[in-house]
Symmetry: C2
Subunit: 377 residues, 2 copies
């Protein structure tokens, strides 16, 4: 079968690298950040705004779209791209992680998982066959295999058992692979190096268009997460895209890119925006702080996003405190632009062999202004 | 004092008329609809989007902006236009109606009203002097006099007393008039023709740049409201803009335009949009209806707004049921476009002497699809 995806590494700087991922619907410059569009919309944003800030691919959630509106409806109206008016690439996760993290009940069986919907309590079943069928109906450009996300902590035996299940399901997903859709495998193995290695070897034996690291950011300490990223990243094949699932903290991204990771998704910029936490070139701020009450200045004088170009901190604070919809729009626009810009600058740094300077500069900024609870006047 | 406003009647068709209202920041084609921007934002919309749909003036609420963020802050950051990034005209109401309708407690005195904030329960005082000072700080293009909104029903004696208070306050507002800001008087008088006449005569004696009809849509039957509009409209001076405050039902607008009214504001398009009630060329619909579940068609095939151009009813239904922010954006965009388009077509009809056909056609549409409670699947 011909791969629907081409990946070319352009520059290398240590283990970090830039590349171009080519799909029928468009090219993606890596390292890439994928805004999360859970319910067929990146919360508060329009497709035009996403393009304006340079998004080249977004993520859709199989679990959510299966429950609402249902993949049958999305197929009936012409697929996810047409449904949400987004004509660039879409990656869909498989639902494995949401079944683990969102459903009220989860009963794992041989060929999938019975779970209770977090929306209305109804019972459902998704396994590799179902996950591939749903993703076919959605018509995403990149599909993910249905995996069993191993909880943390897990004993070696449990993690091994879970890992074998993920590998078996990965093989089934590969069999049910959809025409015209790239398919990525997912590495599990909890925090055991040996199991991570075994997982990668298993996946390589099956063969995928790209490889994702799953089962992290599930409660393990940061150092353990970083150790696993540093260990796993370089073991993934260099000629395929590497994707670290669901992780978007700047510190984690820097560790991962240094370990050769190419793709990221995370709700951090969008969720934080709605909560009034905004990223700036001097660290993160809480827009509700009293000090911004009559502050005429832009959120971040170094930012060129439309929020920073047109609005003051005083206005953003006012919109946040009055719970206006425009608050979520302007904050999301800024935070997502900030992320896209961070990735753009990171790609430039790698291309010019300056990733380690880039990393040090950012780590200093990130350390300078830790998040604190702020008083509202 | 030189008026900050020029008004020219362009076409007449019976008592209905088209005109151009010229202010330093821009011209307004009348009959005009003013989207309501209560908290220094038209809910869910950006200023660019408002311009895209043809809004030439918006309304700001003195009461809300006085409470949050406070007019001192808006003055400090350069006025309301700069604060909210809107460079076309703004009309501010005086707070009189909100003090009446929103505050938990209202104690009317000689020179104003003590009231309890609906936000935090704190006590405040606004009278004609304060209302003019706040509107000066906001820097709106058109200010309104601070009036005493007469409740319905009111005895003749109460309405007379209230009317006299409004006239006295109107005189004070005229004295405190701000440089560079047009000022409109407000007609009160409850449902008594004699008092409406007395109110108009009193206001004409003081002299304003425009005249508004207040104290309607406060609980009186529709027929009584229409009777008052028909009676009051033609008594207002023909060479000044006439503004019917807070009323935007299509039926009421048609009655008012037929009575020579030029300006309108109402939360109907925006509030209904957020509740999923959408206006179409064949009547209003509730987007949550089961029948739209897999409906690929646009909300209104005859509408050229960006929502109808890019999205299906199935998608709009899905966004509404998942309570997505984009739902409120797309619905508001459509409803406001629909209003602006209705007014555009109404102006064309008047200009070509066909207002009564226009009115009949619309009344038939409005009667064809009354709102009903719909079941959600």
């Amino acid at each position: 079968m011909v791969s629907m995806l081409r990946f070319e590494v352009l520059n290398e700087d240590g283990s970090s690298r830039t590349g171009i991922l080519s799909l029928a619907r468009g090219c993606i410059h890596t390292p890439a950040f994928m805004p999360v569009g859970t319910n067929a919309t990146v919360k508060a944003m329009s497709p035009d705004e996403l393009k304006e800030i340079g998004a080249e691919i977004i993520l859709g959630n199989t679990y959510h779209l299966y429950l609402r509106p249902g993949h049958g409806i999305i197929r009936a109206v012409g697929g996810l791209h047409r449904f949400m008016n987004w004509d660039l690439p879409i990656l869909t996760d498989s639902g494995g992680f949401q079944v683990y993290s969102l459903s009220a009940l989860r009963v794992i069986e041989e060929n999938g998982v019975h779970f209770r919907s977090h929306v209305d309590g109804s019972m459902h079943f998704i396994g590799p066959a179902e996950a591939m069928e749903i993703q076919r109906a959605l018509g995403s450009d990149i599909a993910m295999v249905f995996d069993d996300c191993t909880p943390y902590p897990a004993t070696y035996e449990y993690a091994l058992d879970s890992l074998k299940r993920t590998l078996k399901w990965a093989r089934m997903c590969r069999e049910f692979r959809n025409e015209g859709q790239a398919l990525f495998g997912i590495v599990q193995g909890s925090t055991y190096r040996e199991l991570r290695t075994m997982s990668i070897e298993g996946l390589l034996g099956i063969g995928f268009d790209g490889y994702a690291v799953g089962g992290l950011s599930v409660g393990e300490p940061k150092e353990v997460m970083h150790e696993m990223i540093r260990f796993t990243g370089p073991l993934l094949p260099a000629d395929k895209p590497r994707y670290l699932m669901g992780i978007g903290d700047f510190t984690d991204v820097l560790v991962a890119v240094e370990s050769g990771v190419d793709m990221f998704d995370c709700v951090m910029p969008t969720r934080n925006a709605r909560n009034g936490t905004l990223f700036t070139s001097t660290g993160r701020i809480s827009i509700k702080r009293t000090e911004y009450k009559a502050d005429k200045g832009p959120l971040d004088p170094n930012c060129k996003c439309s929020t920073c170009t047109h609005y003051s901190r005083a206005y953003l604070r006012h919109l946040f405190l009055t719970r206006e919809i425009l608050s979520m729009r302007l904050n999301t626009m800024h935070n997502l632009y900030f992320y896209m810009d961070f990735f753009r600058k990171m790609r430039d740094a790698i291309a010019s062999g300056k990733f380690s300077e880039f990393r040090k500069r950012w780590e200093a900024v990130l350390a300078s202004r830790p998040e604190t609870e702020e008083e509202i006047s």
